[in-house]
């Protein structure tokens, strides 16, 4: 992989502010700023964190058959999606494995899909293949539209004075055109931290000014810039899947515990037969959250042992800064998935005790007036 890393429009800002940059999904992204991951994580839980997520793919589907293409290729029921609403969903292959997970926004006259950075090109190719015979245009807006996320309990109070849309009435998983700090954005009440918050999509040319204007807000607390390191610990504590970890081509959304976004009765879609068969036969593995009973930290790939044999593997693990203990996600057989089940995680060759616990590890604080979009 010698292709040069892509840079977001905020790359120069990150460099100038001492960010440590790492490759992620083909992009050079800040993993942390000088304050460090723990401070960025805690700032997001206590006040607000501001994340550059412009590496995420933004693809518009426009045309009379946009709905048909999304119905054919995603597991959730796009028919049920009203204008101004968003829906978490999954792209499956024929075998029911996960090609990508995404959020589908229904906007006036078009759909917007926000996909993972590393999946964007493959998703586009997949959609183009699946769109044969359909009247739909796929437009990659990733280069000309940027994306930042303001997440945390202070997000609404921070943004309201500089936003022309009443935020107290805006629900989780909705989106609207808005002006924030004088810049036109698509404003969505979505996120990947378990906290309340917003994702803002301005023109790429506007994002540096918008970013700096949001960071300059101080009431009730100044937001902290936060990198991918904190984004990962926040989503892990929130029990959310990360593609390449909990979700892969080989793992079905049912195994990942995403049955709520798999609508087997909505009509035909890619992967439906395989998923229906899997559901009928019963799962052979399922995703669980677990906590370590000593201080050892689980990491992706560590074996999980029960009754003297390997029964699964860790998909994500870290020290959880808010829960203040090492936590992880793993696939295990369903009979070992009950909360309280004792497991052993092999940490660098050493067996360490662990226990299945409830997900999320940290309670969600999203503005979920009612289950929207899921």
């Amino acid at each position: 992989m010698s292709e040069p890393l892509r840079e977001t429009p905020l790359h120069g800002w990150h460099v100038a502010h001492g960010a440590r940059l790492v490759p992620f999904g083909g992009w050079s992204m800040p993993v942390q700023y000088p304050g460090g991951i723990l401070a960025e994580h805690r700032a997001t839980r206590a006040g607000a964190g501001l994340f550059d997520i412009s590496h995420m793919g933004r693809v518009e589907l426009v045309g009379p058959d946009a709905l048909a293409l999304l119905q054919r290729t995603t597991t959730n029921d796009v028919n049920a999606l009203a204008v101004g609403r968003a829906q978490y969903s999954v792209l499956c292959n024929e075998a029911g494995g996960t090609l990508d997970d995404l959020i589908v926004y229904r906007l006036p006259g078009r759909y917007l899909a926000v996909v993972n950075a590393g999946g964007r090109e493959r998703d586009l190719a997949w959609w183009r293949e699946q769109a044969r015979g359909l009247d739909v245009d796929l437009v990659d807006r990733t280069p000309d539209v940027a994306m930042i996320a303001l997440q945390g309990p202070a997000a609404e109070t921070l943004l309201q004075p500089v936003c022309n849309v009443p935020l107290d009435r805006m629900r989780y998983y909705t989106a609207t055109r808005a002006e924030v700090c004088g810049r036109a954005v698509l404003l969505a009440r979505t996120g990947y931290t378990g906290e309340d918050g917003f994702e803002l999509m301005p023109a790429s040319d506007d994002v540096v000014a918008l970013w700096e204007a949001v960071l300059a807000l101080t009431d009730p607390v100044a937001p902290s810039p936060a990198g991918l390191g904190a984004r990962d610990t926040l989503r892990l504590e929130a029990g959310m899947a990360l593609y390449g970890h909990e979700l892969t081509d080989e793992i079905s959304p049912l195994e990942a515990g995403l049955g709520r976004v798999v609508k087997l009765d909505k009509g035909e879609f890619v992967g439906r037969k395989a998923l229906a068969a899997q559901q009928a036969a019963g799962l052979t593995r399922q995703l669980v959250g677990f906590e370590m009973l000593d201080a050892a930290i689980p990491r992706q790939g560590y074996p999980v042992i029960a009754g003297g044999r390997t029964v699964g593997a860790v998909t994500s693990g870290s020290f959880g800064p808010s829960v203040e203990r090492p936590i992880g996600l793993a696939y295990v057989p369903p009979q070992l998935a009950a909360v309280g089940t004792e497991l052993t995680v092999v940490v660098r060759g050493r067996p360490a005790p662990a226990r299945v616990c409830a997900r999320p590890f940290w309670p969600h604080h999203t503005k979920r007036i009612r289950a929207a979009g899921d």
Binding site: R20, G36, G229, R299, F319, R348
Partner: protein, 130 residues
Amino acid sequence: MTPDDRRYSTEHEWAKAEGGEVVVGITDFAQEQLGDVVYVELPSVGDQVKQGRVMGVVESVKAASDLYSPVSGEVVAVNDAAVGEPQKLNDAPYTDGWLIRVRPDNLDELNNLMTAEQYDLRVSDRGPEE
């Protein structure tokens, strides 16, 4: 800024001779590169460590990294305070964040290590992490 009362390894550990024993820790550069340290695993008192060999593990939020002993000998003390509060490695890598104390097999081994000046030159040559 890098203390000149001790020697430094290419693996970013320091070794300081103190009354015939050697105190071992990680450098400020190492803690900076690691980021927030959240877990430390060290050998036990009585264990033998060997210069250049793995003696433990330090984990940041993101990843685990091996610790290499800069000196050979027997572990005579372990910094339990740092194990209990790994943030000490970030806050005070050259003082409170020390790791182990070793009775060295041969104090001359420290001559295999870099001086503070040599170490500073080495880490300043390194570009930003790719």
